[in-house]
């Protein structure tokens, strides 16, 4: 087969549009040859789209590239695919840096070389001995005054493993390179042919602190493939659980930030209150992280009126406590002085690298799936989007605080407004040769799940994008020109997932 001739750049709208949480036949995805897909995707990004996912689907010994874009202002997603490619294709990263990590991943997973990619190296693959990630060459700054600081994979605290390489001139960080992959469990590799019996549980533990968001995205994908809609009450329970997850994690983060600037009253109080929020999730489903609650077709458990009342009472207490604990924090000039203008990611940078979630909103970008692409209960009720300008540690802390208040308010309203009915609906079989996309706004940001089924309706390809996949680059940029001693607060202000990235 000869390569098809290059056509002229496609007109805007050459992509196919669909709404969040829906599916379409695989054959209906418009097809470009790879260079054209790269150009078309670039053109859509220039028109204001964001790259949600860019990945490969194996076809024989070749690979098709798939682009999933989000037009936030229009609440639509745009998808397209390439004809099967072998060997190489022109890199999108050259013109659109938000593709940077995606193209490295495609190179690693499918051995397709994005030609011209400025920094092609492994994302998470093992080295030849199979006992550490094959991270490749680190970027080096040369000069007599330069020194290199290497940290990890085993860090000082009780946290997940990753390796950080700082190029410093004295205290100043010129460049930080983040090498991950230590938590790689081959999540995507074990999904084809599924769903298997363990799949639901693996989705709940892609990133254990984001159980509800990943489980909901997975359930939404299966429901879109089956043409089943989860009952309204189940969607309500999921929203309640998702906001509880947000409250717990944001509280923990504010506490951790306080701890890093030695502001101990808030640090210790938030550590405890975070547990109170986790216990509210346990009240709903028995597990502090929300395991075994969300199921395709609905939820496994109901949140009965009596339980919801108890939840509401305990929620009000915890919200009151966090209000007080954060109050001391925001009142302290010493804390603000430490956070302001530290770890800045500038708005244009944030757009260019495609930040999502808290980190994006702290750069003044209005990006929130609950608002831009609402599904489930968020079609009927919404918490206002929390945005703060500045892009610094202070802004990221502040966005968390705003979200805590708004999610708290949202929960109080929604807990009093439960829809009646069952909480699950038998799930039909997945449609064959079908493509489905679901986005969910987890507490860190956008969780994106994409599935493609084969002729039997089993998974042919399943792609997961945790918000951390977009955002780790943000942390690297935030460190430029900072003192290395600012790393802990910069890192905590992003609080990204290692396992969600490593998959």
């Amino acid at each position: 087969m000869s390569t098809p001739p290059l056509s002229s750049p496609p007109a805007a709208g050459a992509f196919t549009f669909l709404a969040n949480g829906t599916s379409l036949p695989w054959a209906d995805l418009p097809e470009f040859n790879a260079p054209d897909l790269v150009r078309a995707t670039g053109a859509e990004i220039d028109r204001g789209a964001r790259l949600c996912a860019w990945f490969g689907v194996p076809e024989g010994d070749a690979t098709r590239l798939v682009a999933v874009l989000a037009f936030d202002a229009d609440s639509t997603l745009a998808v397209a695919r390439s004809t099967p490619v072998r060997g190489s294709y022109p890199a999108l990263t050259v013109t659109h840096p938000q593709a940077h990590m995606f193209e490295r991943e495609v190179w690693e997973q499918h051995h397709l070389n994005p030609e011209g990619h400025p920094w092609l190296k492994p994302v998470r693959a093992s080295n030849t001995a199979g006992d550490a990630p094959a991270v490749g060459e680190f970027f080096r700054v040369n000069g007599p005054e330069i020194h290199e600081v290497a940290v990890g994979p085993v860090h000082a605290g009780v946290i997940e493993p990753g390796h950080f390489r700082f190029q410093c001139a004295g205290e100043e960080v010129l460049h930080l390179e983040i090498a991950l992959g230590y938590q790689h469990r081959a999540v995507e590799d074990i999904l084809p042919g599924g769903p298997h019996r363990a799949t639901m549980h693996q989705m709940e533990t892609v990133a254990g602190d984001t159980t509800i968001a990943h489980a909901t995205a997975y359930a939404n994908v299966l429901e879109a493939l089956a043409g089943t809609e989860a009952p309204l009450r189940a969607q309500w329970v999921r929203a309640v659980a998702l906001e509880l997850e947000r409250l717990a994690n944001h509280t923990g983060d504010i506490g951790a930030l306080a701890g890093d600037v030695a502001f101990l009253p808030t640090a210790s109080a938030c550590g405890k209150i975070r547990g109170d929020f986790l216990n509210l999730s346990a009240l709903v489903c028995g597990n502090r992280f929300g395991r075994a609650l969300v199921r395709p077709g609905g939820t496994r458990l109901d949140l009965e009126a009596e339980r919801a009342t108890r939840l509401l009472e305990r929620l009000k207490v915890a919200l009151g406590e966090v209000e007080a604990a954060a109050g001391w924090f925001w009142d302290a000039a010493s804390v603000r002085a430490r956070f302001e203008n530290v770890g800045v990611v500038f708005g244009p940078q944030a757009t260019e690298i495609g930040l999502v979630g808290v980190a994006a909103r702290a750069c003044g970008l209005v990006r929130d799936v609950r608002f831009d692409h609402p599904t489930g209960w968020y079609r009927f009720a919404q918490a206002p989007v929390a945005v703060w300008p500045g892009g610094d540690v202070y802004a990221r802390a502040r966005v968390r605080w705003l979200e805590l208040q708004r999610s708290g308010q949202f929960l109080q309203e929604q807990l009093a407004a439960a829809p009646a009915g069952p909480v699950n609906e038998p799930l039909g079989p997945a449609a064959p040769d079908t493509f489905a996309v679901a986005l969910v706004e987890g507490w860190r940001g956008e969780v994106c799940h994409v599935a493609l089924t084969d002729a039997r309706g089993a998974f042919r390809r399943y792609k997961i994008v945790d918000p951390s996949f977009h955002n780790w680059t943000g942390l690297a940029l935030a460190l430029r020109g900072q003192a290395i001693s600012d790393f802990p607060i910069c890192n905590k202000s992003f609080n990204l997932s290692y396992c969600g990235f490593d998959l």
Binding site: Q183, R185, G271, F289
Partner: protein, 263 residues
């Protein structure tokens, strides 16, 4: 003003550390369920329903043999409990699950309906670690759940340090390694190096289904199905993740810090 406000709030909050183990243990959430119990004698002939729903292969029932449930592989999804017609598998609401030997997590044989809880360390080790145990925590392919609940023990509510147990930054300062996660291939070298750097004698504590036997990711080509693939394990604490109370119970049991009658 600010200082006084902070002080007032602090005083209002009072002492937040729980009374346990002197006072009764905090209640588990009603839907938690706790450890499993297996009465294999209740099984009906040829029934395989629990085997078929278990996501991790924790339950086996070869033809003609009694049901066996491996609590080390269990992720506590409750599917088997819900599906079992004669209620041979039930939940105990008991938070205590830690064991010293891997085999003590195998349930089902007569007299082995429940886990055989961990015995304390021997005298010599108790003398060394009983009043001061420093642990280097290694997250090796975990989802962050176990890590979070290990961390929680350090907060004021649980205040692990009142038992002389601390998490330390350097393996050189540690008496043992606490492992979470299914041990990804990519973490095996780091785990081994950390273990090697801890001076003898040393302990290894595996927290969570992943660290015991791979958890939800058991069998994935990139994971080694638990800590014992790389280091020898002295204490197994089941759960996905284990409730903080379960972890604390395991540690106190090991150090013989639970009073008689509270076991």
């Amino acid at each position: 003003m600010f200082v006084f406000d902070t002080l007032t709030h602090r005083l209002k909050r009072g002492c937040e550390t729980m009374g346990y183990p002197q006072a009764p243990a905090p209640a588990l959430p009603d839907r938690h369920g706790g450890a499993l119990r297996v009465d294999a004698a209740k099984c009906s002939d040829g029934c395989q329903q629990c085997v078929e729903v278990c996501p991790t292969g924790a339950i086996t029932r070869p033809a003609g043999q009694p049901l066996a449930l491996d609590l080390g592989k269990c992720i506590f999804c409750q599917a088997c409990v819900e599906v079992c017609p004669p209620k041979a598998i039930t939940q105990t609401n008991d938070h205590r699950m830690a064991v010293r030997n891997r085999g003590d997590l195998l349930l089902g044989a007569p007299g082995q309906e429940e886990v055989r809880l961990a015995a304390a360390l021997d005298k010599k080790l108790l003398k060394l670690f009983g009043r001061s145990l420093r642990l280097r925590v290694v997250s090796a392919g975990g989802c962050g759940g176990c890590e979070a609940d290990v961390n929680v023990l350090g907060t004021i509510g649980w205040d692990l340090s009142r038992f002389g147990i601390n998490y330390v930054a350097s393996p050189r300062h540690a008496d043992g390694v606490l492992v979470t996660g299914c041990v990804s291939r990519n973490m095996s070298l780091a785990l081994k190096k950390t273990y090697d750097a801890v001076p003898e004698p040393k302990l290894v504590i595996a927290v969570g289904a992943c660290a015991i036997n791979g958890g939800p990711f058991i069998g994935s080509p990139e994971v080694l199905n638990g800590a014992s693939a790389v280091v020898p394990v002295d204490l197994y604490i089941p759960g996905c993740p284990p409730h903080p109370l379960t972890i604390l119970d395991g540690l106190l049991r090991l150090l013989d810090r639970l009073e008689e009658g509270k076991r």
